[in-house]
């Protein structure tokens, strides 16, 4: 159920948009839904980020992953246990750009031995890290490349990206690596979820749904680019630029069902992002164990709701023990 339901969901979305293309609901699928999705996305991102940012971080709960800044002759770890703001920026950027913490991943293994308790071994396990990096970077490149549908002429930077991405130039159309990497990486993440017993055990419908969505998007994209389903890119560009200028073309030439599917799935992904676990895109910046300065004895961290509490005072304590203290020769405040 956990796997099938989200798969069916994505297939249903695809089917509905294909039907939409077939009966010619162009305005609905090419204008209304994308606009709505963008709106839902923007509102969602702002709402979500505010929902975190307006909550205080009452304590400095940095997870310190390196030597503290202390004595001058001990080398401190600026990035793993930053004691400056700059260090924190570096630490967060390492997380965002290189998935630093995921890189630490190891797998434990019991190595059995004769007549003795088994030995625990830890093996570096970079696969999740590699898969996740491949996934996110290819997603980013694919995303950036789409910009050419929105601008005329194609900007210089983008041409460079395309050149790098398309270094397998084998005739026309140029093969862009990113799309295939995205597909492969998403497939890897999916298989990992299905095949590793522990990961499967923790996975919910909401973990499979975005994966199917991304796979659907990448698949339709690749189909449109390289197969008989080829789409009229001029018409797409016309539509996109129109959408950008809030002047959607009144009557577009028929673009093809597969494009409808692609666009609808993308719209769903965007609309879904801020309300789901995909909000980790914003959340990773706000995680208090990573974005606070480690050296908490150096600066006082302020808790805005710190309130007075009942304590057992020294006076009360001395009242309870004064005779015993005096007998033992321990100094007291009140004789």
């Amino acid at each position: 159920m956990t796997v099938v339901a989200p798969l069916l969901g994505v297939l249903a979305l695809a089917a509905v948009s294909a039907v939409g293309a077939w009966i010619g609901l162009t305005t609905l699928f090419c204008v209304v839904i994308p606009y709505a999705a963008i709106l839902v996305f923007l509102v969602g991102v702002i709402w979500r980020v505010l929902s975190w940012a307006r909550r205080p971080t009452p304590f400095n709960i940095t997870t310190t992953c390196g030597q503290q800044y202390s004595l001058p002759w001990i080398q401190s770890s600026t990035l793993e246990n930053p004691h400056t703001r700059l260090g924190v920026v570096g630490r967060v950027l390492l997380e965002v750009l290189l998935f630093r913490s995921l890189f630490r991943n190891v797998k434990h293994e019991f190595v059995s031995r004769e007549n003795a308790a088994p030995r625990l071994a830890y093996k570096a396990s970079p696969w999740l890290w590699l898969g996740a990096l491949a996934f996110h970077y290819s997603f980013l490149v694919v995303f950036v490349r789409h910009y050419r549908f929105f601008s005329e002429p194609t900007p210089r930077v983008l041409q460079i990206v395309e050149m790098l991405d398309g270094f397998f130039q084998i005739g026309s159309p140029t093969i862009f690596v990113s799309g295939f990497v995205l597909l492969a990486a998403a497939a890897f993440l999916l298989l990992r979820r299905l095949l590793l017993p522990q990961v499967r055990y923790i996975s919910l419908t909401t973990d499979y749904f975005p994966l199917f969505l991304v796979i659907g998007i990448a698949l339709t994209g690749v189909l449109m680019r390289y197969t008989a389903f080829r789409t009229d890119t001029a018409a797409v560009k016309n539509l996109c630029i129109g959408l950008m200028q809030f002047k959607p073309p009144a009557a577009t030439e028929p673009i093809g069902a597969i494009f409808f599917v692609h666009l609808t799935l993308v719209s769903c992904l965007f609309a879904y992002l801020p309300y789901s676990k995909l909000s980790h895109m914003m959340g990773v910046w706000l995680s208090p164990t990573r974005n606070l300065i480690g050296a908490s004895r150096m600066r006082r961290h302020i808790n805005p709701w710190n309130y007075p509490v009942a304590v057992h005072t020294y006076e009360e304590y001395e009242d309870e023990w004064r005779d015993k203290m005096k007998a033992a020769g321990i100094p007291v405040d009140k004789e």
Binding site: P56, N60, L71, W73, E95, S101, R290, R297, R300
Partner: protein, 540 residues
Amino acid sequence: MPDIQLPPPEELAKVSFQPRPQGWMDPQVEFRPGTWSYAGKPKALETVGMPNPREWSPTDADWKLPANWKEVILQGLRERLDKYRSLKVFLDICVRCGACADKCHFFIGSGDPKNMPVLRAELLRSVYRNDFTLAGKLLGQMVGARELTMDVVKEWFYYFYQCTECRRCSVFCPYGIDQAELTMLGRELLNLVGININWVMEPVAKCYMTGNHMGIPPHALKDNLEFFADDIENITGIRVDIPINKKGADVLFVIPSGDVMADPGIYTLMGYMMVLHESGLNYTWSTYASEGGNFGLFTSHEMIKRLNAKIYAEARRLGVKWILGGECGHMWRVLHQYMDTLNGPADFLEVPVSPITGTRFEHARSTKMIHIAEFTADLIYHGKLKLDPSRNNAYKVTFHDSCNPARSMGLFEEPRYILRNVCNHFYEMPENTIREQTFCCGGGAGLGNDENMEMRMRGGLPRGNAVRFVHERYGVNLLTAMCAIDRAVLTTLMEYWVPEVKVSGLHELVGNALVMTGEKERELNLRSEPLNEGGEETSD
């Protein structure tokens, strides 16, 4: 004494990692003996005015909760969601990638899927989804939402008290999601309706009234310290002084009280006394602030503050300049990450300066409190202590990074620097088991009680295994740790997993190696055993 029958280590180490086929959503807990802790006694709760004091046991069908328990917990969750960004972010963004799963010592040692940090979090997250998110309200089970039922509460109790708040999971999570934070807040919610364990509540109550976990009254504390001074005199011929509650001292010295009572912590305490005496620091003990440890950390943020308040209060009363802290793990989490925020600003104190070396401890310029490892490392670096490391030649030492000084402070090099100076044989455990990746002793956060013995041995399996590794490879026979809970819990753990290895604190070894001015020929170590018994004199 609970009678927990443990299988032999080879048996316990056969851990099955096959999750139940039916998933985790339906709550199910079996309170198997040896895997849970006794409930908090009503008297302890009354002492500190916590809700719903009563006699009860987790194995009872009826936990005698107030009629509106569900409202109370959900309201508590609502409030905390507004007060802690950590809680909200951690509940919202987990992608269930599983990177944290096998990073928890309790999962490695038990194979119970709900001991994967991600699932421990889902126990709470599922309730959050159900009552605080639209998707959860609409789609329920389908999106991983669960209603808060009594069975869910029991599950929370079982698994939030199978987490030692060690923070190892948060090192590996791509977003730094920290199950320790969620466990802390989860326990806080349970405490709202009177669900807690005695091994936490009893120390809390004692600490509140007498100033320390052990409930040591002032005169007894003095007696104990005198007793250790006698021992030191026997061993070294030097009588160390014991300043207590002394106004006009420069420095207030605060330790975990476990070191005053229990073997082997007492030897570390003797080590402190010797170093402080030899350095000539003008310091004082306090009978009121006689505990730096703080089981409030395992109860609620409010309780952290209530128990911690005495440290600054006493520093102010005695008029000291700054504060020095002993070797303790969770105590240092509180001192490093909570004290200044909760009970500061300590503007009546001065930035710590070592009068012996002149070193100004800038890194503690706000909190005004430094760790004794920082103090001693600085003394050694400046050549202010005369050391004879060969006196520790009987020991082949390995060092256990205690969770909190490691992952909530980053105190890695100071103790190692000291170790290299006070003993000749120091070997590191494998790199995935030390420093920020260190494995818990399995008995922190209040879980170090006897009735929880099976879970302790399971949780301590990875640590035990790493010690066995260096024992077999290098002949390591001493496990040194800067934590009072470790010194107690690791001792039992070693007896079970690696009986050849003993446990010590860092300053015990410093005390052994320390050549005190005017001391007599040393024949005994701090344990009053003949020096270097069974050990070779030369280094290899």
